[in-house]
């Protein structure tokens, strides 16, 4: 068991503030297509957008404590009745785009984070984190990753995301379940 660690010399002499602060941060993890392959492997998915009526939006909202409206245009269905849904949650500190896979009976089979953005409403912060992505595309993922930070520090809770997954479950109960059933009936 060994270790290879080089402390920042400025920190050793106790003047941490001398190092220019790097402003946190946004990360793109996987694309929608990659997440589909990870969560529902070897099945072809067909886009299955649904119209979110005001009534449905209200039901989703009251069931999950998330106010940010749900968008119905990022829903896919597999031939066996599995679902792949992309949604976003916006917290005090963060905005997270995530994908949820549901099996034909609506149970969550996997969750994958697509994108994570820390936003404090500071223009400067925004400009800085965007710089990380300038000139980078999803086709160049290795390079993208190498340029993005390893961030240590206190735990950011994933509670908001848990609420997000709850509202996807509600969406299934209200709007998707029937589609699965009618599919079986055919």
């Amino acid at each position: 068991m060994h270790m290879n660690w080089k402390p920042n010399p400025y920190l050793i002499i106790g003047i941490a503030t001398i190092t220019a602060p790097i402003v946190a941060h946004a990360k793109i993890y996987v694309s929608i297509e990659q997440a589909q392959k990870i969560l529902i492997p070897n099945k072809s998915l067909v886009k299955n957008p649904i119209i979110i009526t005001e009534e449905l939006q209200d039901k989703i909202r009251s069931a999950s404590s998330i106010r940010y409206p749900f968008q119905g245009d990022r829903i896919w269905r597999a031939a066996d009745g599995s679902w792949f849904i992309v949604d976003e949650v916006v917290g005090k500190h963060e905005m997270i785009t995530y994908a949820v896979a549901l099996n034909p009976s609506g149970a969550v089979t996997g969750i994958e984070i697509l994108e994570y953005v820390e936003s404090y409403g500071y223009e400067v912060a925004e400009a800085n984190w965007r710089k990380q992505f300038v000139g980078k595309t999803a086709a160049d993922p290795i390079k993208l990753n190498q340029d993005i930070q390893n961030i240590g520090g206190a735990t950011l809770s994933c509670k908001h995301l848990t609420d997000g997954v709850k509202r996807v479950a509600v969406l299934y109960e209200i709007a998707l379940k029937n589609q699965t059933l009618s599919l079986k009936a055919k």
Binding site: A16, P21, Y98, E112, L156
Partner: protein, 275 residues
């Protein structure tokens, strides 16, 4: 390739530097973390940890080798820190509504990790009721397990980061940033690492209102403690880094003698007054 999943109450990021890694390596690494969560989670009344808390004072409890390993690490750090690290403080966190209540609490009667006895390598019991919380050590262990699985799958270089507790491996030096405790959205570059682990303790993301208590409890006097700086520990394994951050932040001593025993180093980032 870099993937992220919500696990262990936070966001777990696994990064692989290899050009075309086998996808199963990442899946297996995430599964290992899920398994640690289901074995050792306090929130889950079905977890082995909850079974220990419920029954170990009544009868021997059989546990998974991973749970046994974490408990042994916990006992080791308890001994070396002379009790500053003790995961037998779950009842204090339940009382402060920071952890869920699964059964009745009589707070005068709980033992600590020192009371947990191994009858066999995977069989434990305790003379006193226990309310262990592995929140201060299991996350680091999960990170180590994930790294072991990546290496076993032939991955050359990468990192696993569970909400700020991380371990890196491979042949490329990686720059490590931690959050500035004064302004958590700003990062401070604290060094670079090829092989090793780092964990950090601080209270800046605790999302607390003024009336709620800190999740950090000093086992020696059972008091909730407050601090504004952040404490990071660098060690070979994340399980040690994770546990030792509690020793350093509770004692306020970045040169605590037990760091040397684990070949670890501590770094404190003070809060600055300027905004």
């Amino acid at each position: 390739m870099i993937r992220c999943k919500p696990l262990l109450g936070t966001f777990v990021e696994i990064r692989i530097e290899d050009q075309s890694p086998p996808l199963k390596a990442l899946d297996e690494a995430f599964l290992a973390i899920e398994q640690v969560q289901s074995l050792m989670g306090f929130h889950n009344p079905e977890s082995e940890l909850s079974q220990i808390n419920l029954r170990s004072h009544l009868e021997p409890v059989r546990i998974h080798p991973w749970t046994a390993e974490v408990l042994k690490f916990a006992k080791e750090v308890y001994l070396q820190s002379q009790g500053i690290f003790n995961c037998g403080i779950g009842h204090r966190l339940v009382k402060a509504s920071l952890l869920p209540k699964h059964n009745k609490l009589n707070d005068y009667s709980f033992g600590g990790i020192e009371d947990l006895q191994f009858i066999e390598p995977s069989l434990v019991q305790s003379p006193l009721p226990l309310c262990l919380d592995l929140g201060g050590i299991a996350k680091g262990y999960a990170v180590d397990k994930a790294v072991e699985l990546l290496i076993a799958n032939g991955i050359q270089a990468g990192s696993v980061n569970a909400g700020g507790d991380m371990r890196v491996f491979g042949n490329r030096s990686q720059s490590i940033q931690i959050r500035n405790p004064s302004k958590p959205h700003e990062l401070i570059q604290i060094g670079s690492m090829k092989v090793g682990a780092i964990a950090t303790s601080s209270l800046y993301f605790a999302n607390r209102n003024t009336s709620s208590k800190s999740f950090m409890v000093n086992p020696l006097n059972q008091e909730h403690i407050e601090f504004s700086e952040s404490y990071s520990v660098v060690a070979s394994r994340c399980v040690y880094a994770d546990a030792l951050t509690k020793v350093v932040s509770i004692s306020g001593n970045t040169r605590h003698p037990c760091l040397k025993f684990f070949s670890a180093q501590a770094i404190s980032i003070p809060t600055t007054q300027s905004t």
